[in-house]
Symmetry: C2
Subunit: 711 residues, 2 copies
């Protein structure tokens, strides 16, 4: 194992998350500053430096090469959200870690910060103690000791409107034994909890769809996926191992949180809310280090459900703003979550006492073979040139109650950056009376178990820096030539054109996807011109997963998840504009975030801009998604579009079976002749262009292969 | 290496392609039957048995288990298309290989069969000899010895309307040396050749877009991608090898052309036209072997170009019907085209003399790790269960002049079957005068080199057998509940419904994609009911790549590629209906295939049906696509949709780093503490649910892992 992870003894990089020591220090500073206060440390996180300062620090203020740091000093600050115990007042504090002092302290009225794991666990215990809850269970005739509560954000209830009281609701389940799959035994009532008073204030019964049904008997049939509950005789035993090995080590290097791979350099960070964040992506193009993106992360997401009845209308989880992709992140396991040669990064967050907690192996970094990068065969000579691609993968996996999301950034050798969401885990389920049907709102995945229809929307915050800070966005629509078939301009009728529209301002820059015109968006730098096209260089946003939000205009979901009204928004950069549904998303009545920021028209042409891309899936559950869901994927890609002067992967050498260990599955001696194959008898091989030099790729470039092997 | 490829000494399976010996026998039978005739053997291929007979043979006539063969005998026949040399008459012959006799012989007037590699090579030579062509080159001042012609199908020219004369056109290029990339030096004239007379009958000059430009000087700057022409100093040397190894061998078995892997059984075949064909896909569901698809292949494709001027309107290659995915298939190279442990199948076709020619290693079969199959973590205990997925890949790669297409079938452990096209190779290019601009019709990828905009459409012929021969297709559209926000039916406005529409007949079953309703189609078996949903079992067609055909109604392209008017057609099964643009696609004036077959309305509900799915991409070339194009992908998936009674991958065991060889990239001793990681200092690890048992997947099921290791 090489020691590619360099020592990092200097003070942390300005973008490094707070260390465990810094979390401790921050909490201590606050406690001594507010000795009288009984503090709940909701979140303690790095206050990211202002972009202007970071651009200076990174040397982008006059667009020098991205790495040459000027001697700018960047203050090291912690941003803390505090809830006063029992009182429930919310405060924001900024702590200076340079001079260990409280730099600012404000009370924020009428907001509710993010929900923490500790709250979720305490509230579950509270619910199970509650008399009204126990009464419901008695009536259902189920053993209280096996009842479980998944606390959820309240979303919105008219009678508890607003965010003055800190509320949680919960979905209730039963387990036949400790690790039983509770989503096979959903209960039919929903408690509401005042978290400040630590009190169940209401228990709502979910009635059957029609009055002709009585209260259901909870289904007790088990539907498990944990191996110890499956019949070992039914498990597949015919899966031979696949080993992905890197005998010469990995091709990337890690210096603290800075990663270099192939032509890419970038930095990662991690926070309680967005989880993994990608910073300052650059690409080495010849002797030019070209900036691509200043910052990229998932800013928010929402999962609205289809059923218009209560409590389903309240189920529209904002898994970033209400629960936190950081707070919900998994500790990843080598050889299971991650295959191959892996580097892990840990994550540091805080608990209510202001103590650090660590999620070991929260971020996975590794390389993957990507299949063909490009190939061409000259049909005359049969001379083929094949180059296999490689990608660098940076990923995390989060668990938000029933659902699990695996989140992947991919960096490819052709300059393409991709993002993929794999949704898996457990469907949210509700109980049905026998013979009750969820109609058009859900799928019966097992007797009496309804998996309600829903949508998943993910909104990415993409802060581009395509060859520099000032960028614009073009909308490209392809359409037939207007002139009719037979006319001089379109005589044979095949004509079509690609029209580009500049999204000038924040009004114009609220766009829907449109497959009818093969629409895509292009981030360009008006002051960086491609020598061949003579037009600005750009990066193209391709996204195939753009369902509309089915919640109606004026609906609660549409108000709270305003970002999902459009697939793409462009805003002027603002340090304060990070979260598409507002910073205080939990119990937010709506209107915050993108709708608020775009109320007054602002120029986004040749500006420091931020792009907000919403993508997702409409999920009509299948029986096959139960009792655990095979991954459902969606995502988008960022492709260089006339940014380079040629295919940037041209310099990737071919591979050889001698270095990648490829071999034949079966004895070649028996392959021709009597056995197998599409030609069961041994043929007279005839001359033909297509097989004269078939697959000459390996032999075609010994030099690069050799240098690769000896690297 | 195990010997998983079983001996196959019995007579060929009825679906086995003709062997080399059978090709020879067929040609000899025809020669002796027509001693007077000077025969060009255009194509010699297996005449696939009628479906009714195959269903009997496979035991599906009364839906027994798919494998139990009754003692049906299936005739072994060759289907031959012949062109009479110099005369140009076209004949179809059927040869019985059971009694070595000519079973049928018909003259087919007014058609032109597929173009062969031999024609392409002969016509190029002919063109280079032609006086008019040489005159053009003299005027361009280029050396005739370095001129190359890529013959293309004629498409359509009014004055040579119809298919009575066998015609080819060609796009002309220059090379500075033998393996120079000719697409960097396109010429500005287009010969037309009468292939029967072996005569250039016209040379068309391509004028600059505007009269203000004179005839261009051909750009001589080189743009190469072959490694020997790249500066070795510029090649990447920092890509460490990735080895994909299967120390215990592969998990699939091969018996002739029958493949078994995990729960799947299917058979492959190969022909000159469709290339790879997938037959009789079944899935072992408990003790039931359930049929899924009877036959799947790419039936046709078309690549129309955007520029309405001549000759671009003629450029709409039908790479299946005009050139053949079989005839154009590559011989694949181990370790380059294919990584890992590979089984190859050869392909047998014929030359003009009726001799067999073999493409060795035409089809690649191998397994791949597929990343997460599913995962769920119980946030209370941190207990995670992670199962990695595996897929079986069957693929081929074709080269059609400048373009290369890699075509992949993927079989997944969750019952999902996917198909992916990777388009790569060389952009079609045209020459520009200096300062000439292609406007909205193309991209300048290098000085004076225009890469014209175009689209790629692929139409799949999917013959389903979901739990049996008679199937139907539902169209599923999701939309908001109609009732307004605040009304009793949609009080909070979140309501949405999934509406299913049965495509009853061939009129209704001509459908467009619609992202506005998250539309998808579902193949169902009305007589096989899922016990939970109480509705028919089905397979869902998901396709994200559905651009519209931009060629106008009534245009030549739209007439010839009628299939591309719609994304989905459903027809009644008919042995004769194989090719979506007609069997004699070359020089076809249009109307054949799907438009013809659907003229009279036929029932497709609970019938033996065939589904025609068209997908593709609108390709506006990027500078990055030159001089060789990074793969551009598109495809579709077939997902079980309430077909099974649970996640069919439940029985897939977890993996362990001990069997898959996963390891850490860097010395763990330096990972915590002073170096790297998101926590630069060694933290006090606090209790937290999310890291208590993080990644317990490996330990959670020793049994299956062990049995896997010892398998």
């Amino acid at each position: 194992m090489s020691d590619g992870a360099k020592t990092d003894l200097r003070k942390p990089h300005p973008l490094d998350p707070l260390s465990a020591e810094e979390v401790v220090a921050t909490a201590n500073i606050l406690r001594s500053a507010k000795p009288e206060m009984d503090i709940i440390f909701n979140t303690i996180t790095l206050k990211e430096p202002p972009k202007k300062l970071m651009l200076k620090y990174l040397g982008y203020d006059h667009l020098e090469e991205g790495t040459s740091k000027s001697n700018v000093t960047v203050p090291r600050e912690a941003f803390v959200v505090i809830i006063e115990k029992e009182v429930g007042m919310v405060y924001e504090a900024i702590v200076s870690l340079d001079d260990n002092s409280l730099a600012s302290w404000i009370h924020i009225p009428g907001v509710q910060p993010i929900i923490t794991a500790e709250e979720v666990l305490t509230v579950e215990a509270l619910i199970l103690q509650d008399e009204a809850v126990q009464a419901e269970c008695r009536e259902l005739g189920i053993d209280m000791n096996n009842v479980y509560a998944d606390p959820w954000a309240i979303g919105h209830i008219e009678k508890y409107k607003g965010a003055d009281r800190r509320l949680l609701t919960a979905l209730m389940y039963y387990r036949n034994f400790e690790d039983d799959n509770q989503y096979a035994h959903p209960l039919d009532f929903v408690p509401v909890v005042d978290v400040t008073l630590m009190k169940v204030i209401e228990v709502e019964r979910i009635p059957p769809k029609s009055s002709k049904f009585t209260r259901p008997v909870i289904p007790m049939e088990n539907h498990n996926f944990l191996p110890e509950f499956l019949d070992p005789k039914t498990m597949r035993t015919d899966i031979k191992p696949i080993q992905v090995l890197q005998p010469e080590g990995v091709s990337f290097t890690v210096d603290g949180n800075q990663i270099a791979w192939q032509k890419y350099k970038f930095q990662i960070s991690f926070n309680y809310r967005e989880g993994l964040v990608i910073h300052n992506v650059t690409y080495q193009d010849g002797d030019k280090l070209r900036p691509l993106f200043f910052r990229m992360s998932m800013s928010e997401m929402v999962v609205p459900y289809a059923d218009p009845e209560s409590p389903h209308y309240r189920k529209h989880a904002f898994d970033v703003g209400e629960y936190g992709l950081g707070l919900c992140t998994n500790s990843l396991a080598l050889g299971c979550d991650c295959l191959g040669t892996i580097h892990y990064f840990d994550a540091v967050m805080n608990d209510h006492e202001g103590r650090p907690f660590i999620v070991p192996q929260a971020i996975c970094l590794h390389e993957e073979d990507r299949g063909l990068l490009f190939k061409h065969t000259d049909y005359r000579s049969g001379r083929a040139h094949v180059v296999r691609g490689r990608r660098l993968v940076v990923s995390q996996i989060v668990t938000v109650a029933n659902y699990d999301y695996a989140l992947y950034w991919y960096f490819n050798q052709d300059g393409t950056i991709e993002y993929e969401v794999k949704a898996t885990g457990e469907l949210n389920t509700t109980v049905l009376a026998e013979d009750e049907d969820p109609g058009d709102f859900g799928t019966i995945v097992a007797p009496q178990i309804n998996a309600p229809h829903h949508q998943h929307f993910f909104v990415m915050r993409l802060d581009p820096m395509i060859d520099g800070v000032n960028n614009s966005v073009l909308q490209v629509d392809t359409m037939p030539v207007e002139a009719p078939v037979g006319s001089p301009e379109n005589r044979w009728g095949n004509g079509f054109v690609a029209k580009q529209k500049l999204l000038e301002d924040t009004d114009a820059a609220q766009a829907d996807a449109n497959t009818a015109t093969s629409r895509f968006w292009k981030i360009i730098n008006p002051s960086s011109i491609n020598p061949y096209t003579r037009k600005p260089v750009g990066y193209k946003i391709s996204c195939m997963h753009t369902p509309p939000l089915f919640a109606k205009p004026g609906s609660i979901v549409e108000r709270r998840a305003g970002f999902a009204r459009k697939n793409l928004w462009v805003t002027q950069y603002d340090d304060e504009q990070m979260f598409a549904a507002g910073f205080y998303c939990n119990q937010n009545e709506g209107g915050d975030g993108l709708p608020e920021w775009t109320k007054t028209k602002k120029n986004v042409n040749n500006e420091d801009i931020v792009i907000w891309l919403t993508f997702g899936v409409t999920h009509l559950p299948r029986v096959e998604d139960f009792p655990v869901m095979p991954v459902e994927t969606c995502g988008f890609s960022l492709k260089p579009c006339n940014f380079f002067n040629a295919n940037p992967g041209l310099d990737v050498p071919s591979q050889s079976k001698h270095t990648n260990g490829s071999m034949l599955a079966f004895d070649p001696a028996v392959k021709y002749g009597k056995k197998g194959g599409l030609n069961p008898v041994d043929p007279l091989k005839m001359h033909h262009p297509s097989n004269e030099q078939g697959g000459s790729c390996c032999g075609s470039n010994p030099a690069p292969v050799a240098s690769q092997a000896s690297a």
